[in-house]
């Protein structure tokens, strides 16, 4: 059973979701930056940078302006009840996107790679990016993440085995490539970063798996014990690299590591790393029985 949609209402609800995602951070993210700030030594650039980030989050919330000017690729993961028209949802999301761009909540970020022309309204081929998944529940859940170009540029993919890194086709090999990826990124992805890891799949699903991890709560624990252990180990060891906020040095290089898997063909063993900047903008909208929840 599809839920009944009033297009104008849903458009304005999605617009509100975009405003929330662009101008506010989730409580788990704010908390983790506050915690990180407490752990940095007094008088260091690391401590003062983290303090400025928190002030910036407050200012963005108060002024209703984007936390970061790079409002990024808009990534939607939409879960919908059976029978819902995804084409209809797509069009509504596009209209809300145009409106948010007109009102300077989003920066016009869709550039045609051949002509170099900016479309001016954030619409274009695969823009915004939407991933639709039907589920058995009677609710519509729209997750939105704004992912800036800086952190996307330092994201990457490895193919195991990797002889330079002594990385075999197992979890220890995964550990090694993640350390290498985060060390290579330095401060370029706007550290402290949040690391989504996708193990397995083909090239495309591996990246998708990595990006899906970024929708998880920073405080959760992986239901798979081996992966939970790896997440904890990587979190601790990556923070021993000393890269620190913005790459100025310090104890906080990452705020979290989240790992997911996808089955692979025997010949391939991909590990994808989705690096997300500290401006970890993700929020969701759920509609069920006429009730609307923003999270």
């Amino acid at each position: 059973m599809a839920i009944t949609i009033d297009e104008a209402t849903l458009e304005s609800q999605i617009y509100d979701l975009i405003v929330l995602a662009s101008t506010d951070l989730s409580p788990d993210v704010v908390r983790s930056i506050e915690e990180a700030q407490k752990h940095e030594d007094d008088g260091t650039p690391a401590k003062s940078v983290l303090g400025m980030l928190l002030r910036n989050v407050d200012a963005a919330r108060e002024n209703r302006t984007p936390i970061c000017q790079d409002t990024g690729t808009n990534i939607y993961h939409v879960h919908y009840p059976a029978g819902q028209s995804t084409l209809q949802l797509r069009k509504i999301i596009e209209r809300a996107t145009e409106r948010a761009t007109e009102e300077s909540i989003l920066r016009p970020n869709a550039v045609d790679p051949v002509s170099g022309k900016n479309s001016g309204n954030n619409l274009g081929t695969e823009n915004p990016f939407m991933h639709f998944e039907e589920w058995e529940e009677e609710r519509l859940k729209i997750d939105l993440m704004l992912k800036g170009g800086g952190c996307e540029n330092v994201s990457g993919q490895y193919k195991l085995p990797d002889s330079d890194l002594d990385a075999g086709r197992d979890l220890n090999g995964v550990y090694k490539v993640v350390v290498d990826a985060v060390n290579s990124a330095q401060g370029l992805g706007c550290a402290p970063g949040i690391i989504g890891v996708g193990i397995g799949g083909d090239r495309a699903t591996s990246h998708l798996t990595a990006k899906k991890q970024l929708f998880r709560n920073l405080d959760d624990s992986n239901p798979e014990p081996e992966l939970a252990e790896m997440e904890t180990r990587l979190y601790k060891d990556l923070n021993s690299l000393g890269i620190g906020p913005m790459g100025f040095g310090g104890k906080t290089t990452v705020l979290g590591v989240k790992i997911g898997t996808a089955h692979r063909v025997p010949a391939s063993y991909f590990v994808s790393i989705a690096y997300m900047c500290w401006a970890y903008r993700r929020h969701s909208l759920t509609i069920e029985n006429g009730e609307v929840i923003y999270d």
């Binding site: 650039p45 940078v49 400025m52 980030l53 002030r55 910036n56 200012a59 963005a60 002024n63 302006t65 984007p66 936390i67 970061c68 000017q69 790079d70 409002t71 300077s104 989003l106 920066r107 016009p108 970020n109 550039v111 170099g116 022309k117 900016n118 001016g120 800036g148 170009g149 800086g150 540029n153 890194l165 002594d166 990385a167 090694k176 350390v179 290498d180 060390n183 330095q186 401060g187 370029l188 706007c190 060891d237 021993s240 690299l241 000393g242 890269i243 620190g244 913005m246 790459g247 100025f248 040095g249 900047c277 500290w278 401006a279």
Partner: protein
Amino acid sequence: MTELRLPTSEEVVRKLKVGDEVHIFGTMITARDAAHKFLIEERPDFIRPYLENSLIYHCGPVVKKKNGTWSFVAAGPTTSIREEPYEGPVMKEYNVRGVIGKGGMGDKTLEALHDQGGVYLHAIGGLASLLAQSVKEVKEVFMLEEFGVPEAMWVIEVENFPAVVTMDSHRKSIHTEVKSKSTEQAQRLIHPVT
């Protein structure tokens, strides 16, 4: 804390050292990917007075137009390393005194800062709301139609714009120092001695 007033001079900039925190006052101009390519390939004369003894800000802002006047809504730095092939030649050609961006730049730019008397200033990535408040006025915009909002060249008046010197004219770079230490640690983690 050092105040850096624009336009500045080679003498002032050569005194700046890695680790110095500066607050910037005056007129500077944004330029990023499309603009750097344009500056090198087209060598436009109209832009020279704006770059002379001033700073280039690697920034693609969110802007608003109200009653015919532009303002900056969000304006943090973008990643600088993409301009590595262009920056040295741009600084020399237009007598630029420095660059504001994030993430640092490479050896070619470090060498240009040394030769030219220039400095790399690191602004805080993602500090868009606070930095936009430092932009007091948008004086002009060039190449808006051709490049679009993020890549146009915005001439801005800033006040109290905070940044840290992370590369100076004495061939020092915080970025190389941090990377060399973190790489040692990464090697220990990746290739543990058993």
